[in-house]
Amino acid sequence: MSVSESFAKWRYRLVPDHLLGEVLSKNWIDNTIPFLFLIIVVVLFQSLIPGFLSIAGFADLGRQLGEVAFVAIGLAIVMLAGGIDLSVGSVFALANFAALAFINYLGWPLYLAIPAVAAIGALVGLINGLLVGYLRLRAFLTTLATLIIVRAVVDLLILAYARKVAMTMSDSDAWLFLGEGDFFGVPFNFILLVAVAILAHLVLSRSRYGWHILAVGGSRRSAYNAGIAVRRTICITYVISGMFAAIGGLFYAARLGSVGPDTGIGLEVTVLTAAVLGGVSLGGGRGSIFKALLGTAIVLLVTNSLIRLNMPSGATPLVLGLLLLLAVAVDIRWLKNRHKLLSRVYVSPTYFELPQRPATEAGSASPYAVNDAFHDVEAIGLGELDGPEDIIFDSKDNLYTGGRQGDIVRFLAPDYRQSEIFVHLGGFPLGLAFDAEDNLHACVAGMGVYMVTPEREIVRLSDETNRSFFSIIDDSRIRMADDLDIAADGRVFFSEATVRYGVSDWAVDALEGRGNGRIIAYDPHTRSTRTVLSGRIFPNGICMVGDGESLLFAETWACRISRFWFAGPKKGRVETVVADLPGYPDNLNKASDGRFWVALAGMRSPVFDMSLTVPSFRRRMAQRVAMDEWLYPNLNTGCVVKVSLDGTVTESLWDLGGASHPQITSVREHKGYLYLGGINNNRIGRHRLADADPSWTSQHAYWGKS
């Protein structure tokens, strides 16, 4: 091995490249940009303003946050549903005036005044909501008009009553506490804000109405077609927004007690900047309460600091405007390019070296020598089937197989001409196995492991396993259950080929050469699922050895078959049985002579073998070349080989022209015949074995029944 090659080997073993793509695929990644921004703002102003990070400063900020953030949360809810509410600034001012008028001038008690103020906000919101939601007016213009009207109303009220309101002062302690009180230094309204924010978050993320909001914002048309009351949902968001703006105004009134005419002027731009800066998307569907709070904190920090820095007039609007532009630009660009970036970096190849390829030339002494054994193979279900990945027989010789339509199909013995849909599972069944009670177990792609009783009752066995502690992607959900077998003690062992890819793009895993797959055990006695072996390269076929403590499994992209002890003195150990297959092994099953049949789904090629040792080449390919032009392993021609437990390969059977069975994913021996399945094939092949035991069935070999 050359120096550069061993460098590549160690570099890819030590640097976890795949983590970058996994981090980018997380939902919380959207928060990192505003969060970094917040840190930058804090660090910047800390260096400019002495005493910036003081307790008093924080309390002051918390109090302001307890006013503005209410408005921002309301606006964020409207924006999440795909609208916008510009009237919040005016509602804020109206609520400020109303609160002071009720409490100072009219002398109402708080329990009456506070609901009244909230109701006024809700009423303005309701007008917006009726206009935008039910009449379907344009949110921007409509709320602009209400902004102007409400502001004019506030001006009129101030003209008429300002002096009377300002003359009187409330002596209510509770009112004073609302404005200036705190618990252990934390302002009261900030505590309330946190409580409301948590509640709003729970409603948005856990409740039916919250999901409706996000659905309407994500795709109004789809939400409508799904039967969501789009108009009502939108209307209510404006009511909420109006109410929250009023609550913000209420606290403002409690703190300052002034009816100045410039209250809340430009507040809509401030909170809009805050929401967008935090990552609440314009146009709806993306964002959260937390994002709105984050954005508000940033905007308040910036504006307060600018004031403390004694910047000349004009600096604050300039910075705020630039901030809004920057936030929107980043938001738009990020939204547009995130999936592009993700698809560029997600595929992360690593170094893997396959052993020398054995010869397969016809006439050579190699056990893999090409022949035409499947020349006159019979076809079962020709044209009826689509993707019989695996085949299995029950104790009455009926044949079961899966199909892409999501069914398990049964072909009736003895001639397998007549077929019926046994059950409809809804997902693509892959590996199949029977247990001692004739329950059919199936690995269903994207769904997990299911059991079908002879009475056709479908039972979900497992779709979730324990989450690995240090895994960044959530690997608890079983996405790619592939093949299974059942141990003598009843435990179901199944392979999950890869945790990084799903049913539609599993083939991309071949480019990585990393052990992304695992073997999982389901225990029917405790109904628990545990990962028993992880970090294997596309584990595929699984077959019990028969000693009650070990199984054989095939690793497709690694072209090898290994033995894994799940019980007994060698528990946990893995030994390679065949290390250098000439192709990519798929399912494994028992043969009547005690050996094992292995289906090779495709054959190795020198080019792809070499590319596995050059990860940088594959990475470049994944980034620069269109997906359908990538170099993939050849899965167009395959064969069946027989191996013994000590790793000796005794024979191989080929379909030379590839007319009937170009890709073989499964092979099953039953009563002197070999049955062939293929995940991309339209038939099951049936091949007579001259020297096999004509009474041998796998059901008998496993469970002692005929």
């Binding site: 795909g82 109004r220 660009r333």
Partner: protein, 331 residues
């Protein structure tokens, strides 16, 4: 469709917003003429037209942007700050021509920046221009002028003369008419004008057809900013001063009101100069009547806001949008 509806369609009169608004304007005009003493009076009508000329000029600039499915909320900021700078430069001893040239260059730069933000950075026009209006005001206040109100020096005779009268007609009205005719010809008969309609009607289709969508968008904002500067010069000349606080007022919403009232749909591709004229006339009559009625400014705002609301409601009733055809993110 009932027989009477079919007949009405064939009759040639369509219940478009433009017709409705024109009809309302006519009603108001007749009503005010009868009811308000001093309304139907040559001098009052001339002052009415002169007062709305500025709004009309701004409306034409806004209309050109709106036809291309954009919106320019920074128009009034651009107008105020670019003219304020021009006047400030004259006060500092610059020649009138140089000062106007620099002011125009400032407005053009603002327009190009906005156009780039909308067309290339793909920020929604509403937000790009809203943010820009704050930025322009902040920047202008910080770097260009140091007072809120800047007075036109006495020696700027040339600048003062652009708001004189010509044969009894105030010059601003003539500038408005000239601009309206030029804008009409531009939108109707030039390649760029037709491009604006195509882009506003269906941006994706326009792009596929080979129209340089992005440069055209930049040009729209460039035009609206330069028209805003022109409107600012006329205002400065009329009032002999520039008040930059107008940038933070609701004036830009009056401009939108003119455009929307006239019937230029905000979804773009529709309408023309005629719609702006109709909108301007209605607003002019309304403002003038309210002034004669001695209505307080805040009350006028309520009326204007309500009229705007009614206009959008009528628009949405006449051209309903539904869940199947509404564009996602179309706020």
């Amino acid at each position: 469709m009932s027989a009477s509806q079919t007949e009405r369609r064939q009759g040639g009169f369509k219940l478009t917003q433009e017709n409705i608004v024109f009809f309302i304007a006519l009603l108001l005009f007749i009503g005010f003429s009868v009811l308000l003493p001093g309304f139907f009076d040559t001098s009052n009508l001339l002052s009415l037209v002169q007062n709305v000329a500025i709004l009309g000029i701004l409306g034409i600039g806004m209309g050109i942007v709106v036809i291309g499915r954009g919106i320019d909320l920074a128009m009034v900021s651009t107008m105020a700050l670019s003219t304020a700078w021009t006047v400030a430069l004259i006060n500092r001893g610059f020649g009138t021509a140089e000062a106007i040239g620099l002011g125009l260059a400032f407005a053009a730069a603002v327009g190009i920046i906005m156009g780039v933000l909308v067309a290339y950075v793909e920020i929604p026009a509403i937000f790009a221009t809203l943010a820009m209006s704050t930025v322009i005001y902040g920047f202008g206040r910080l770097a260009l002028v140091d007072l809120d109100v800047i007075y036109l020096p006495d020696n700027a005779i040339w600048l003062r003369s652009i708001s004189n009268s010509f044969l009894g007609v105030p010059l601003p009205v003539i500038w408005f008419s000239v601009l309206a005719i030029v804008a009409y010809l531009f939108l109707r008969f030039t390649k760029w004008g037709r491009y604006f309609y195509a882009i506003g009607d269906n941006r994706a289709a326009a792009r596929i057809t080979g129209i340089p969508v992005r440069p055209m968008t930049v040009i729209q904002y460039l035009i609206s900013s330069m028209i805003a500067f022109g409107a600012g010069l006329i205002t400065a000349s009329l009032l002999a001063s520039v008040n930059i606080r107008v940038a933070q007022s609701t004036m830009v919403y009056d401009v939108i009101l003119v455009v929307v009232l006239g019937g230029i749909g905000l979804s773009g591709g529709k309408g023309g100069v005629r719609n702006i004229l109709v909108g301007t006339i209605l607003i002019g009559i309304l403002l003038n009547g309210m002034t004669i009625l001695d209505m307080p400014f805040t009350m006028q705002n309520i009326v204007k806001g309500t009229v705007l609301l009614i206009a959008i409601i009528v628009d949405s009733l006449a051209n309903p949008r539904d869940e199947q055809t509404a564009q996602q993110g179309d706020i």
